[in-house]
Every structure is written in structure tokens, then in C-alpha cells.
């Protein structure tokens, strides 16, 4: 049985790995989003985070032996696709404005 | 008259008060959609109407001599969950201050007709709102309502200073707002504390001033009262302003437009003194007795300190602004004498200061409109150009340095007198803690006051005519001995430099008349103030006795007394 605390039911290593992977992907995604300037790369990082989320869904779905997890992954895919479409449209637009993809070229968010 | 009539009368009174408060609001609303031309007229009409309503109320005010509150406390619910009401009502002190406010506002409005040329609609709208909130503060019998009025005054004032003020208006407005707001947080905190205590011990929510005062003064233990009074004092001292938290005032006065300064000196500062008189003193007699000396020391320092600073000012408006600090020092000193003479003098002083200092600001503003200079190094001897202006200037200066026969004297004199006799002996029935020393030191304020005020008059009004070189009449400037052999007779009806217009004189005459009346026949006002003052100071002799024995009332004793109150 479970070597660490026996009263727990024996877990599924796959689930554990999946969850860990999802956490790592999400974290890496955040790091990337914060540390890259290229807008496209930043959007890729958001996609990474989506990946993490999806993986977590699948893992939990497996843990609880429930299909809802997978169903939600479908929705995640949907959102990701929509996001990609819009985001890339925006990127193109912004690139046309400033002829660069650097996010730092845009400071209009600053108050004053 | 029968109760029924009484009820009807109080109903009518209530409506009159609300009318005087709401008419300005309605006026502001109308102004918002009117055009700039009509705005000034509307504002004047609205303020006059409000004055009329209040005057009508004062005319049939039943409690002039009783010191009571009318209409009866209570009113429609406002925040039902904590039983906060829209309770309004006047006693003679607050009514007098409200009348002062209602008298000053039309003067301010009409006085701004020529001074304010841009964004008139906002200006007059804000002024109407300011008026309404000040009146609300004076009329409120519910501490929360009072707080609302007290605080809301800051908003219009902020805009009035920040938009129509002088070159440093932004900074001045920010400082005014933040500083006084910080102060009033103390005040809010302490009244909330009292209300909560009341709920804790009686299980009922009440925010009525009378209820809370009687509750706090009898039920709260001495050390609690000490801190309560300290907090309230800290809150109101900023508004008064007492040394050393006065520094926002000169800047604000100096940068504010004329009417702003007038109303600031006239009634806004009085909100602080009124707060101390109406809330701090009655709520925490133990604290008041314990802290009176401390406060009095602050006041005395303020008198000398501000007076000396006035003496070296070159900016006329700043000089008068600092003089407010000095004068209000004397005013508060009289209040902390804790005997009827001093307190009556203090309340009267509030009114007098509002009249004379307000008028002085008005006059300086009138000169400023003509020359756009306030610095006495560049301008002076204006009596040559504007004799009527000079007359009023001297008149109100004399009133401000307390010349007997004018209003300033009575209040100032009674304040000092009260301070003087506020010694430990009980032969006056009101033992005090201050005594001759304070009166002597504060009395030198009379000398210093004469020094700086006459400096103002001597340089700004009299002396050889000095006009700013810049303006087209520079050729008259800097040489009195010629300037007016030519122009001696016609008092310079040059464009822009003419003497006061009929409108301006019409603004000043009422103030002058009121000053004269108070100076010559203060008896009715003093009689009106008297009972309220005695009611306010009722718990003090005992408290002061305890303070003299430096043995503040023990907590359990208070509790025991509370028990008895419950039984009785």
C-alpha cells in the first residue's frame, strides 16, 4: 500500500506525474510570459499555460474516473483557439502600427 | 401656546431649515444647466433665498433665551440599521453661526461677479453646494449628519481653490484637503467609538448629539474621556486651526479666490471651533478639564507666534491669514477658560472673527482685482486712489484689533477676561485652570495685533501711493507728493483703478453695520449665547475641581454613578 501514509488509498503514479507536469508547464508559461518581449513568444507562453491546465484536467479526470475532465479540455481547446485567433490578429495589427513585435514598444497603459 | 401649535410650529421650523439647506442645492442643480450669464444671478438669488428662509426661522425661533434646541431632536430615519437620523435643529449658538454663514454667502457670491470670469457655472454651483453643506453641519443634531456636512465642505472648497485659485492653487488645495481630512478622521473615529459604546452599554443605537453627550460625559470612565477629548481635539484643532497644525491655512488663504478666503475664514474655520464647543467639551468633561491647560498653552503660543509672523509678512492676504491663527488662538483660549465669561466671549469671537476677517479678505480681494498685486512692497498708499475702500479697511482693521465699540472688542475682551479669572478659587462658581498668566501672555496679543494690523494699514492703505510699475498708471506710482496734486480731488476714476463700486460698497455696508451693532449692543447676542454656554459647561466645575485635586474620577465611581442613573 501507500508507503508514506497507509490510510490513503494507493494512488495512480500517472495522475501524480500528470499533475506535476501541469504545474511545471503552467509555471514555465508564467515565467516565459514575464520574461520575453516578443509578443508572439508571450502568446506561446499563454498557450503553454493552457497546456498545463489541460493536462491537469485530464489528470484529475483520471483520478476521479470521470469524463468531465476531458470535456473541459475540449472547452479549453476552444478558448485557446479563439484566443490564438484574436491574439494573433492583434499582434499583426500592433506590428503594423510600430513595425516591431516588442511588447515594450507599447507604453500606452501607463497612467499619465 | 398649546402643544398642537407648538408641534405645528416646529414642523414649520423644520421645513424652513430644510428649505435654507436645500434651496442652494436646487440652485446648484439649476445653475448646472443654466448659461454662465444667468449663473451669477441665480446664485445670488438662491443664496439670498436661503438667507431669507433661515432668517424667517430665526425670527420665530422659540429657544433664543432658553438655550434649548428647536425643533425637537429626532427626524426621519436616514440609516435605519444604526438609527442614524436626519435630525436637524438649532440652538442659539449654532443658529447664530448659521446666520453668519447665510449672511456671508450672498456677499461672497455677489462679490465674485467681477472677480470670476471663467467657468462661472461650476464656480457658483460649487459655492451653492459649499453653502448647503456648511448649513447642514451647523444644523445637524445627529453627529453622523454633522460629519457629513463637515466633510463635504472640503469637496467644493477643493475645486474652488484648485480651479480659481492663485498660482500655487493645486498644492494649496491638496494640502487643505488632505490635512483637514486627516484631522476629521480622528473626529469620525471618536464619534463612532462613542456611538458604539452607547450601543454596547444601552443596546440602542443613537447618534443624537444630546444623547451621546450625556451618555459619554456620565458613563465613560475618566481615562476614556481623556483620550476621547484628545482625539476630538486633534480632529478639530486642524480645522480651527490651532498651532502647530495651522500650516495649511496661510497657503490655502493665499491661493484661494477672494470669496473662498472669505468663506474659509468666515465660517469654515468656525466648524472646528463649533465642533470643539458642541462635541468635544460636552462629551468628555473629564478630558476637557485634564487637557484644558495643554490646549490653552497651544492657544497662547499660537497667539504670540502667529502675531509675530504676521508682523513680518509682506503679502497682505497672508498677513490676514496668519492673523486668523492668532485670533482663533484667543478665541479657543476663552473657550478653555471653562467659565461662562470666556465661553460666551469665545462664541461671540467666532462670529466677530468671521465678520471682520471675512470683510478684510473681501477688501484685499477688491484691491487685488484692480491691481493684481498683494505684495505690500509693490503696492501701498491706496487710500489716495480709493478713499472709500480705505475707510472700510480702517474700519474693519479696528474691528479686528478689538477697538471698543466695535464687535471685536467684546469677544476678545471677554475671552481674555474669562481666561484671567479662570483661577482655582470657586468664588466665581466656575473654578478654572488658567489664570492671569495666560491672560497676560495672550494679552500681549493685543499689542502685537495692533502692531501688525497697523503695519498693514500703514503700508497698504496709507503712506505714499505706490502702484505696480507694470500698470499703465505707473507714472503716479512711487511719488505720492506729486501723484495726486493733480489727482487729489478726483479719486482716480482711471479705468480699473477706480474706487469701490456701488455693488462692492453694498457688500461691505451690511458687514459694517453688523459689526457696529454687535459692538454697541451685544446684549441680545450674549443673552442668547449665555444659556447654551451654561448648559455646555454644566459638568465642568466638578470636573475641574477633580482636575485641580489631580484626582481624576475613578472608573468604578463612574460605573456606580451610572448604576444610580439607571435606577433613578
Amino acid at each position: 500500500m501507500n508507503p508514506i501514509d497507509p490510510q490513503l488509498p494507493p494512488g495512480d503514479p500517472l495522475v501524480m506525474l500528470g499533475l506535476l507536469a501541469s504545474a511545471i508547464l503552467f509555471a514555465v508559461g508564467i515565467v516565459g510570459f514575464l520574461s520575453r518581449r516578443n509578443m508572439i513568444t508571450m502568446f506561446l507562453c499563454t498557450e503553454l499555460m493552457f497546456q498545463g491546465a489541460g493536462l491537469a484536467m485530464i489528470s484529475y479526470g483520471r483520478q476521479h474516473m470521470d469524463l468531465s475532465g476531458q470535456v473541459f479540455v475540449i472547452f479549453i481547446l476552444t478558448v485557446a483557439a479563439a484566443e490564438a485567433a484574436l491574439a494573433l490578429g492583434l499582434v499583426v495589427l500592433l506590428y503594423r502600427r510600430k513595425e516591431t513585435l516588442s511588447a515594450e514598444a507599447w507604453k500606452e497603459l501607463a497612467e499619465s | 401656546m398649546g402643544d398642537l401649535d407648538l408641534a405645528a410650529g416646529s414642523e414649520l421650523n423644520m421645513n424652513l431649515i430644510w428649505a435654507s439647506i436645500l434651496i442652494p442645492v436646487a440652485t446648484a442643480a439649476v445653475i448646472a444647466v443654466a448659461n454662465a450669464r444667468a449663473a451669477r444671478g441665480l446664485a445670488a438669488v438662491g443664496s439670498l433665498a436661503s438667507l431669507g428662509a433661515l432668517a424667517a426661522f430665526a425670527w420665530q425661533f422659540p429657544a433664543w433665551s432658553t438655550g434649548g434646541v428647536s425643533p425637537e431632536p429626532g427626524g426621519c430615519a436616514w440609516i435605519a440599521s444604526i438609527n442614524a437620523t436626519l435630525g436637524i435643529g438649532f440652538d442659539s449658538v449654532s443658529l447664530l453661526l448659521a446666520l453668519l454663514e447665510a449672511l456671508l454667502i450672498p456677499i461672497c457670491v455677489i462679490g465674485s461677479w467681477s472677480a470670476i470670469t471663467d467657468r462661472q457655472r461650476e464656480y457658483y454651483g460649487w459655492f451653492m453646494l459649499l453653502h448647503a453643506s456648511i448649513l447642514l453641519a451647523f444644523a445637524a443634531r445627529d453627529v453622523l449628519l454633522f460629519y457629513v456636512g463637515y466633510e463635504f465642505t472640503l469637496v467644493p472648497l477643493l475645486f474652488i481653490i484648485a480651479i480659481w485659485g492663485g498660482p500655487e492653487r493645486r498644492q494649496a488645495a491638496h494640502k487643505l484637503f488632505l490635512y483637514t481630512f486627516l484631522g476629521s478622521l480622528f473626529f469620525l473615529g471618536s464619534i463612532l467609538f462613542v456611538g458604539w459604546q452607547h450601543h454596547a452599554s444601552t443596546g440602542l443605537w443613537s447618534w443624537d448629539m444630546g444623547t451621546l453627550s450625556s451618555f459619554a460625559s456620565t458613563r465613560l470612565p475618566a481615562n476614556t474621556q481623556y483620550w476621547l477629548f484628545a482625539a476630538l481635539l486633534a480632529g478639530f484643532a486642524v480645522k480651527v486651526p490651532l498651532f502647530p497644525v495651522h500650516t495649511w491655512l496661510p497657503l490655502a488663504h493665499n491661493q484661494a479666490p477672494t470669496a473662498g478666503s472669505v468663506i474659509l475664514a468666515g465660517t469654515l474655520l468656525k466648524l472646528g471651533t463649533y465642533g470643539i464647543f458642541r462635541l468635544a467639551l460636552p462629551m468628555a468633561p473629564e478630558g476637557g478639564a485634564a487637557l484644558a491647560v495643554f490646549a490653552a498653552v497651544l492657544c497662547t503660543v499660537a497667539v504670540i507666534y502667529a502675531a509675530l509672523i504676521c508682523w513680518v509678512q509682506t503679502d497682505a492676504k497672508k498677513l490676514v491669514a496668519y492673523s486668523s491663527v492668532s485670533h482663533l488662538g484667543i478665541c479657543m483660549l476663552g473657550l478653555f477658560a471653562l467659565n461662562p465669561i470666556g465661553a460666551q466671549g469665545s462664541v461671540l469671537y467666532m462670529i466677530n472673527h468671521g465678520l471682520s476677517t471675512g470683510a478684510l479678505f473681501l477688501l484685499i480681494g477688491m484691491a487685488y482685482e484692480r491691481y493684481h498685486v498683494k505684495d505690500m512692497d509693490q503696492i501701498g498708499g491706496l487710500a489716495k486712489r480709493m478713499p472709500v475702500w480705505a475707510f472700510f479697511m480702517v474700519f474693519f482693521t479696528m474691528s479686528s484689533i478689538g477697538l471698543p465699540g466695535l464687535n471685536g472688542f467684546v469677544g476678545e475682551y471677554l475671552c481674555l477676561f474669562g481666561t484671567y479669572i479662570a483661577t482655582g478659587d470657586a468664588s466665581t462658581k466656575y473654578p478654572g485652570l488658567l489664570g492671569p498668566g495666560f491672560a497676560l501672555v495672550a494679552g500681549t496679543g493685543l499689542i502685537l495685533g495692533a502692531m501688525y494690523m497697523l503695519l498693514l494699514v500703514g503700508r497698504y492703505v496709507f503712506g505714499p501711493l505706490r502702484e505696480p510699475k507694470a500698470d499703465s498708471h505707473g507714472k503716479h506710482g512711487h511719488d505720492g507728493s506729486h501723484g495726486h496734486d493733480a489727482h487729489g480731488a478726483d479719486h482716480g476714476d482711471h479705468d480699473g483703478h477706480g474706487d469701490l463700486t456701488g455693488r462692492e460698497v453694498g457688500l461691505l455696508v451690511p458687514l459694517a453695520l453688523v459689526c457696529l451693532f454687535i459692538g454697541i449692543y451685544p446684549k441680545p447676542i450674549l443673552q442668547a449665547i449665555g444659556p447654551v454656554v451654561e448648559r455646555t459647561l454644566a459638568p465642568y466645575p466638578a470636573a475641574v475641581e477633580r482636575a485641580l485635586m489631580s484626582k481624576p474620577q475613578a472608573t468604578e465611581a463612574v460605573q456606580a454613578q451610572a448604576k444610580e442613573d439607571d435606577r433613578g
Binding site: - | W311, G381, L416, Y420, L446, L454
Partner: protein, 733 residues
């Protein structure tokens, strides 16, 4: 609340004796003495409003003052030996508790009318009327400009003086006290484009304010000790409570003294009076010579019951008076400006009066006030006439032999007459009043003041000297004069301008009737002022009118005990002086082996004549000697300080500037710097800057770059996460 009259009567119920005032509502008309000047001042204000360009204001004022004078005359006929209190209306009336003593503060607009009041008001209003008449011509060049202002201020002055003298309580007195201060401020600063005038006015007001503070504090103390500030009740209280030794009671006279010294220009507060000569001459005559400056004397005389119980205070008054007399006389000897000389002589004479008060003869003091009022007014007005005629020339070195100048004979004669009075020439009125004072000085019971007698004699000699210095220099000798440049010290003076503009050489123009008539009348008054003494002297009738006036007032209360041996202050005055004789006998007070009166009479005459002779030689017969003497004195270092000091007025002004004003200004500047830099910019703004400083730390995050906001968000998430971890760890172990 117990109304004031009721309270008053309750006090009066237990009162008896000649000092017991009784309320006399039927005498309300006495209020006219205040009302008329007030009305005329208001009317003058209206004239100013309507830009009246005629002599109407003068007419109004003269009429009003004349009416006031008439009122006082009628009052003189009416008022008996017992004072009366007339309540005009309630002013300040505070009561609490049971409203009894110490539970109320009442100061109504009452009139307290006794003989002293009437006596004072007589010459105040009388001289006021005459001088107003004089001014109506003197100021005519200002018609349409300052004319209304001038007469308005004069009316205000007489109103305030009336309040001061007739007021029924100390607050009324204070009202008048400050009111005359205002009037003198306005009138000294009349030529308000002249910086000196404005400065002088300010100085006068502020120096007076110092005295006023003393008066106010004394008032507080009186209430604290006696529970009232109304004369009628106060006398009772004083009689009831003998002199208490606690400091409050002891301090009262000293504070009153301060007030009196401020108003009456005594050491150390006399410095404002010489500068006050910047005002128009009629003002100097009326306010700064005849009436206002005697208010201090009136105050002490009126409050005498408070002084008699305090011999130290009396001695102090005496010494201050004596020293002031001496100092002012020495300065007066070395001045060249006629008006200034008269100003210093005024100070010196006022010193005499205080000396008299100090040695306990309120009668002598009041008598001297009375006589002095006339001749000093005369002197000033003649000086004014000269000034008027000679375009503001006042330098006694530049005027000479005016007796021979056509149009100025009358003026000169009257001036010389006045000089004799001022010099207290034997058998002039001033001689008698001064005699009274000096006798009391010699015979006073208090040995500390005897020296003052001799000082008084010395001052008499000096006075005679500098008086006739002016007299001989200006009115006798060869005719020569040069016009002044100052043109009445006033640039609005159009006709003076014309005088220069149109014809180069200068024609002095003599005064017309409106100046001559008052001069003559005042001169007659000055002569008649001595009448009581003449009667006393000729057929030994002791009923001295002035003494009667003074004796039947608070001024004599308790004088008995102190200075006049067994004199009973409440008895009729005829006994009074009789007892005085006895008193001298009792004391066996012999001066130079003679009875005090004779001795002082002779010594005084001697001093006067010596002084006159000296200045006759020095300033008329051989005018060179004065300058020669001056040169010799200047020559030797040991003595030059005398001349320099006297001419520079012993540097008192400079001393005050350096010791008081300058340090105060320095402190003020320091405080102002502290207020703006430390308090405001330092502490307040410093506290205000804290949030900004905190904000500046995070500012880079909000430069507008997306990642900045992202970092904030993620940082928030991370914080939450860290919190989760923390919770977990807490749960774990």
C-alpha cells in the same frame, strides 16, 4: 438673570455717605454730551460720502460740540454733591449662578456723573468747541479733501473722551480710552501720504496699546478683587474691604499706572507724544496738549481710592512724574522746532501733574490740568497760527520778531501771554496750581518724595528758560523769517503751492477771525483759570471752586488718611484746606524755616524769574551766547554729551528700537522661517511625501509595458501561493 440696574440698586441699598451714587434716570439728557459728538461724526461720514466740498462738516462739529458744552454747563448746575448714575442702555451684562457678586459681569453704558466728571468735561468740551472753530479756518485748504475726515475724527475724539470721563464703569472708560486712541491715530496720521505721519500714528497707537493692556489687566483684577467694575459699586466694595495685602489687590494700582503713563506720555512710554506733532496743529492743541493726554491724570484721580491704600504705588507715581518732568524739560531746552518744544513742555507739565497725584494732592493735579489745558492750547494754537502763516515754518532759528509783523501782533501777544503762564510766572494760574503741587510734595507724609519738591523747583526754572527761549527768539528781536518748505507738512496744500508757483517772494498772511476769536477766548480762559486762587489769596475765602469740584468725588476718598493728615475727605472742602493748614502744622513741615506755602511761593517765583532772565540775556540781548555756549560745551569731551544727548532726546527712541523692536523683528523673522521651512515644508510636507516615496518603489512596474502589469499580477498570485504554502506548513506540523 438679574438686570444691571436692579443689581446696582441692590448695591446702593446698603450705601450711605456723599460718595453714594443714586440712579438718576431723569438725567438721561446728560447723554447728549456723548450723543451730539457721535451724531456729528456720523454726519461728517455722510458728508464724506456725499463728497461735500464746503465747510459744512466744521459747522456741524462746532454745533455739536457747543451743544455738548452747553449740556455740561447745565449739568454743572444740576449735579449736586452726590454722584448720580444714569443708565443709557445695557451693554455687557453677563450673569450666572445667582447673579450676585462674582457671579456676574456687568458693564452697561452708564454715566457716572459727579463734580469731577463735570469739571473735566467742562474744559474738554469747551476747548473742543473753540479749537474746532479754530480748525475750521486752519484746515480750510483741505476743504473737499480731508476736511470731513478731520472733523469726523475730532467728533469721534470728543465722543470717546466723553465716554472716558463720564462712563459709569471701567469698561466704558476703556472704551473711551481706546476711542481717543483711535481718534489720535486718525488725526496724527491725517496727512497719510507722509510716511512720518503714518509712522507717528502707528507709534502712538501701539505705545498706547501697551498702556491699554495694563488698564485691561487692572480691570480684570479689580473685578476679581471687588466683584464689580462699576464705580458706584466699586467704591462701596473698597470701603467695605480695607486694603487687602494679597498681590492681586496690590497689583491693581501699578497696572492702572501703566495705562495712565501710556496715555499721558510719562516715562517710559512718553516717546509717542513728540512724534504726534506730525498731526495738524489744532489736533496737537486739543488732543496732545489739552485733553487726551490728561486722561491718565483723570484715571488716577478717579481711581484714587485704590491708590491711597498703596503708598509705594503713590511714591512711584510721584517719582515717575518728577523724573519725566525733568527729562522732558532738559530735552525741551535743546529743541528747535516750536511744536516739539511745546510737546516736551506738555510732557514735562504732565509730569508735574503726576507728581501732584503721587504726593496725594489730587486737587493740585486737577487744578494744574485745568490751567495747563488753557495755556498749552493757547501756545499750540498760536504756534499753529504762525505755522499757518509762514507756510509751515516752525524752526525758532528762522523766525524772529513776529511781534512786529503785520497781522501777527495779536497772535504774538497771546503767545507771549501763554509763555508767561507756562513759565508759571508769579500770580498766573499755573503758578498757583504748580504751587499747590510743590507744597504737597514738600509736606507729604511720605519722606521718599520730598526730594521731588526740589526737582520740581529745578524744572520750574528750566521751564521758564526754554519757554522764554522760544518767546524771545520768535516774537522779539529783529524781524526776519523764511517760509517753511514743508508747506504744512502736507503736499495737498494747494494754496501753498500757489504761493510758490505764482510769486517767488513770500507774504505771510495773518489769521482771520475764526482763528483769532478762539485764541482770545482761550486766553481769557487762561486768565480766569486762576480766579479761584485769586479769591483765596485776596479775601481769604477758602471755598476754591476747583477744589470743591475735585473734593466731591472719588478723588478725595481716603486722601485724608494718606497725605493730608486728619483731613476728612468726605467733609466739605472749606474744612479741607483749613485742615490742610493744621496738617502742615502737625507735621511742623518747614521748608527753609518758612511755612511751606510761602516758601514754595517765593522759591517758585525765584526759579521762574531766574530762568526768564537767563534766556532774556541769552536769546534776546545777546543771541550769540547760546551758540557760543553750545560750542564750548561741544568742545570739551567731558560736556559734549550734555548737548548731544539733549538734542538727540537722550536717544530714548533709538534705545527702544534697539532693545525692543529689533530683537522682536529678528525673532519674528526666525519664527516665520521656522513656520514655512520646518513646520510646513519640513514636517507637514515630509509626512505628505511618505506615500509618494513608497509609490516610487513600485513605479517602474507601471511604466506601461505589459509585463510590468503581468509581473504585478503574477506576484500577487505568487503571494497567494506563498500563503497557501504557509497554511500547509502550519497544518503539516
Amino acid at each position: 438673570m438679574i438686570a444691571a440696574p436692579a443689581m446696582l440698586s441692590s448695591v446702593l441699598a446698603l450705601a450711605e455717605g456723599p460718595l453714594d451714587a443714586h440712579a438718576a434716570p431723569e438725567l438721561r439728557w446728560a447723554g447728549l454730551a456723548l450723543l451730539l459728538p457721535l451724531a456729528s461724526s456720523v454726519l461728517c461720514l455722510l458728508c464724506g460720502w456725499l463728497k461735500v466740498r464746503s465747510k459744512l462738516p466744521a459747522a456741524l462739529t462746532i454745533a455739536a460740540l457747543g451743544g455738548a458744552f452747553a449740556t455740561i454747563l447745565r449739568l454743572q448746575g444740576t449735579v449736586g454733591e452726590t454722584p448720580v448714575v444714569v443708565n443709557l442702555f445695557d451693554w455687557i451684562d453677563l450673569t450666572w449662578g445667582d447673579g450676585s457678586r462674582f457671579h456676574g459681569f456687568t458693564a452697561n453704558v452708564d454715566l457716572y456723573i459727579d463734580r469731577l466728571t463735570v469739571f473735566w468735561m467742562l474744559f474738554v468740551t469747551g476747548l473742543g468747541t473753540l479749537i474746532a472753530l479754530y480748525a475750521s479756518e486752519y484746515m480750510e485748504s483741505d476743504v473737499g479733501k480731508g476736511y470731513t475726515r478731520f472733523f469726523g475724527a475730532v467728533s469721534i475724539f470728543l465722543f470717546a473722551m466723553g465716554c472716558l470721563v463720564m462712563g459709569g464703569n471701567l469698561v466704558m472708560l476703556y472704551l473711551g480710552w481706546e476711542g481717543v486712541g483711535l481718534a489720535s491715530y486718525l488725526l496724527i496720521g491725517y496727512y497719510f501720504t507722509k510716511p512720518e505721519a503714518v509712522a507717528a500714528a502707528k507709534k502712538a497707537f501701539i505705545v498706547n496699546r501697551i498702556g491699554d493692556l495694563g488698564l485691561a489687566l487692572a480691570l480684570f483684577l479689580i473685578w476679581q478683587c471687588y466683584g464689580t467694575v462699576e464705580y458706584a459699586a466699586l467704591w462701596k466694595a473698597i470701603e467695605a474691604a480695607p486694603a487687602s495685602s494679597e498681590w492681586t489687590a496690590q497689583a491693581i494700582p501699578w497696572l492702572l499706572m501703566l495705562g495712565a503713563f501710556g496715555k499721558s506720555a510719562q516715562l517710559p512710554l512718553y516717546v509717542w507724544l513728540p512724534d504726534a506733532m506730525e498731526g495738524p496743529t489744532p489736533v496737537s492743541a486739543l488732543i496732545h496738549a489739552a485733553t487726551m493726554v490728561t486722561a491718565g491724570v483723570y484715571l488716577i484721580a478717579r481711581m484714587f481710592p485704590l491708590f491711597v491704600v498703596n503708598p509705594d504705588a503713590l511714591a512711584a507715581v510721584a517719582w515717575v512724574g518728577g523724573l519725566t518732568a525733568l527729562l522732558a524739560a532738559t530735552i525741551g531746552m535743546a529743541q528747535y522746532d516750536m511744536k516739539r518744544i511745546w510737546a516736551y513742555s506738555t510732557i514735562s507739565q504732565l509730569g508735574y501733574m503726576f507728581l501732584g497725584l503721587g504726593v496725594g494732592t489730587t486737587f493740585g493735579a486737577s487744578y494744574h490740568v485745568f490751567t495747563h489745558a488753557f495755556f498749552k492750547a493757547l501756545l499750540f494754537l498760536t504756534a499753529g497760527a504762525v505755522m499757518h502763516g509762514f507756510a509751515g515754518q516752525l524752526d525758532i532759528r528762522k523766525l524772529s520778531g513776529l511781534l512786529k509783523v503785520p497781522g501777527f501782533r495779536l497772535v504774538s501777544v497771546l503767545a507771549v501771554l501763554g509763555c508767561f503762564w507756562l513759565a508759571a510766572f508769579p500770580f498766573t494760574a499755573a503758578f498757583f496750581s504748580k504751587d499747590e503741587i510743590l507744597v504737597s510734595a514738600f509736606t507729604a507724609k511720605d519722606d521718599r518724595v520730598h526730594l521731588l519738591g526740589w526737582i520740581g523747583l529745578l524744572v520750574a526754572a528750566l521751564t521758564a528758560y526754554y519757554t522764554f527761549r522760544v518767546c524771545f527768539r520768535v516774537f522779539f528781536g529783529p524781524v526776519k523769517f523764511e517760509p517753511g518748505h514743508e508747506l504744512h507738512g502736507h503736499d495737498d496744500h494747494d494754496h501753498a503751492h500757489d504761493a510758490h508757483a505764482h510769486h517767488g517772494e513770500f507774504h505771510p498772511h495773518g489769521p482771520r477771525w475764526a482763528i483769532r476769536v478762539p485764541l482770545v477766548l482761550i486766553a481769557i480762559g487762561a486768565i480766569l483759570a486762576g480766579w479761584p486762587s485769586y479769591r483765596t489769596m485776596l479775601h481769604h475765602d477758602e471755598s476754591n471752586w476747583v477744589k470743591t469740584q475735585v473734593a466731591q468725588s472719588s478723588a478725595f476718598q481716603g486722601v485724608a488718611a494718606e497725605s493730608h493728615g486728619s483731613l476728612d475727605g468726605h467733609a466739605a472742602s472749606s474744612h479741607a484746606s483749613a485742615h490742610t493748614e493744621d496738617a502742615h502744622a502737625d507735621h511742623g513741615h518747614l521748608v527753609l524755616g518758612m511755612d511751606a506755602h510761602t516758601a514754595v511761593g517765593r522759591l517758585g517765583s525765584l526759579a521762574c524769574i531766574v530762568g526768564i532772565l537767563v534766556s532774556l540775556y541769552v536769546h534776546l540781548i545777546n543771541r550769540g551766547t547760546a551758540d557760543a555756549l553750545r560750542r564750548t560745551l561741544m568742545g570739551t569731551v567731558a560736556t559734549r554729551w550734555i548737548v548731544v544727548g539733549a538734542e538727540r532726546k537722550w536717544m530714548v527712541d533709538e534705545f527702544y528700537d534697539w532693545v525692543i523692536r529689533l530683537p522682536l523683528r529678528v525673532i519674528a523673522n526666525i519664527l516665520s522661517a521656522i513656520d514655512e521651512l520646518l513646520l510646513d515644508a519640513g514636517i507637514v510636507n515630509g509626512i505628505g511625501a511618505l506615500p509618494a516615496a513608497v509609490g516610487r518603489v513600485f513605479r517602474p512596474l507601471y511604466g506601461g509595458v505589459v509585463q510590468g502589469y503581468a509581473v504585478t499580477m503574477a506576484g500577487g498570485v505568487a503571494l497567494v501561493a506563498a500563503w497557501v504554502i504557509w497554511i500547509w506548513l502550519r497544518g503539516a506540523n
